[in-house]
């Protein structure tokens, strides 16, 4: 395809919604996505799952089909750089080719990722995130063959507990980080949540009631957690009121809510601010997606966590604004629906402090095997920010480039140094965004010069 007018990065709800609007407005639109098929995480493998048990909701197809019709969607494609201009460089893995695009507009729609939950032993094989369990289910219809321990908190954990049971997977135990009933902080937001988003609230209450009725053992509000095993997970030890109980489990799934994926927005040095309710940085973005860089826009959960339905709305709004900016008529979008239930959900499941369960020998950076204790020693030696801890310990320097540990490192620093995360800041992100081979970069230059 010749150079597109618009490149959308990410084929989840907001990216697909934005692409169908810009495409329908007559702009040549290309969607780049690193996953095997469009849908993002929430609608993963939507097209393949159409005929399977538990397909995604109808909304997924209502967004995906027009995006297919109006835009080109390139999957299995890693963005490796993004720059002012704007320009984006991507590795198309199917063909092994690197291409640089210089469109008029780039829409960053990289969505959300799970907030890591640091527990001693969380790097043992057999431990994964609750989202990963759901991914295995959606992608390949895999369910645990052994009773799984679900550990953590949040709507996704309850949803996955239901989906696992429906597909015949066994849930052995749920270790819930909070109490059974909402505390005062959450109750304060309950009336507005029920009023603004009764459907979502009813769904959540239904999930909680189902879990209670399922007979699965639930342990709540532990004082301490540790995963133990020789070479792989064998048990999880729960300490509560001075007593420790070991629950055998070879498969243990962790979850503590989701945070915006800010890898690209931080690469672009956009102005980020700490969102207390997400315990994460998010770029400071206008509702229409405009950033301080001309031609670069941000849509959906990459702006801050609001969920799939509002991500669709955000994608449409940003897509329409981009089309209008480029001189094409586009349907103007209605103002965003109130984020009704978000405050309640955030108060009900307050993000777990990094130090709640982690000990000094708990791994902080999985790629480089850097422990919480090593980061603390660096701080004691004078490292006052994440980039200094990185220099001293290699934390965040591995192949994931701090995607997984970056948020925890900022929070650990804020906790240890008693300073607000906005002052602590985040690790710098540099290209290439994914490890690539020298030959990948050299090939187009060689081809051009021959």
């Amino acid at each position: 395809m010749s150079d597109p007018d618009v490149v959308v990065i990410g084929a989840g709800p907001s990216g697909l919604a934005a692409a169908s609007v810009t495409g329908a407005a007559g702009l040549k639109t290309l969607v780049l996505d690193d996953q095997p098929a469009p849908g993002g995480q929430v609608w993963r493998a939507a097209e393949a799952r159409r005929q399977r048990a538990f397909p995604p909701p109808r909304l997924a197809y209502e967004i995906l089909e027009p995006a297919r019709a109006n835009a080109t969607i390139a999957n299995t494609c890693d963005v490796i750089d993004l720059a002012e201009g704007p320009s984006v460089t991507a590795l198309h893995r199917r063909t092994g080719t690197v291409r640089e695009y210089t469109p008029s507009a780039i829409i960053i729609a990289t969505g959300a990722m799970e907030r890591p939950l640091l527990i001693p032993g969380w790097t043992l094989p057999g431990v994964m995130s609750v989202g990963a369990l759901q991914t295995a289910m959606k992608q390949s219809s895999l369910v645990p063959a052994t009773p799984v321990a679900l550990v953590g908190q949040g709507p996704l954990l309850l949803l996955v507990a239901r989906e696992l049971r429906k597909l015949g997977g066994a849930v052995g135990i749920v270790i819930s980080l909070g109490e059974r009933l909402p505390g005062r902080a959450a109750l304060r937001h309950l009336p507005r949540a029920v009023l603004c988003d009764p459907g979502l609230m009813a769904q959540g209450a239904g999930l909680a009631a189902e879990l209670a009725a399922s007979g699965v053992a639930v342990v709540r509000n532990p004082d301490g957690l540790a995963i133990e095993g020789n070479r792989q997970a064998e048990r999880i030890v729960v300490t509560k009121n001075g007593r420790s109980d070991a629950y055998p489990a070879q498969l243990i799934a962790l979850h503590d809510g989701v945070i915006p994926n800010t890898q690209l927005t931080r690469l672009m040095n956009l102005d980020h601010t700490w969102r207390g309710e997400d315990e994460a940085f998010a770029p400071r973005i206008a509702a229409d997606g405009t950033t301080e860089h001309e031609g670069i826009f941000v849509a959906g959960d990459a702006q801050g966590i609001n969920g799939a339905a509002l991500a669709v709305h955000s994608g449409r709004t940003v897509g329409a604004h981009v089309a209008q900016t480029l001189g094409r008529p586009a349907p103007s979008s209605t103002p965003a629906r109130q984020k009704g239930a978000r405050a309640f959900i955030s108060a009900l499941y307050p993000p777990t402090p990094v130090t709640r369960f982690a000990a000094d020998d708990t791994v902080l950076c999985r790629c480089e095997g850097v422990t919480v204790g090593a980061a603390r020693r660096a701080m004691k030696a004078g490292a006052t920010g994440p980039n200094r801890v990185k220099t001293a310990t290699r934390c965040g320097m591995g192949p994931c480039q701090s995607r997984l540990c970056g948020n925890a490192l900022t929070r650990l620093l804020a906790h240890e140094l008693g300073r607000p995360p906005d002052e602590i800041g985040a690790l710098r992100i540099r290209p290439p965004l994914k490890p690539i081979l020298l030959g990948d970069i050299a090939a187009p230059q060689l081809a051009a010069s021959s």
Partner: protein, 94 residues
Amino acid sequence: MSLFRRATPIGETVNIVVDGNPVAAQEGDTVATVLLCEGRLGFGAKEGPLTPYCLIGVCFGCRVTIDGRDGEQACLIPVREGLQVETEATGERS
């Protein structure tokens, strides 16, 4: 023994090779889900130190060698007939 089983088949058989052994995957699988289904949780030298954590391309815990290319994220690569996967060559820190 695998910690995962397939609740329902998802597609036609796709034959791939993992560490020299033939493995029957299914159309729609990623390399990572095949490895999970095969009971492979730890990759890299001596079954470690890598293990998949997120399965969405964030954690890099599922890096393997695919068709001779080192450091590929198994969760992002769909299976195709004849695909060669090596799990032991990756993950050693140099």
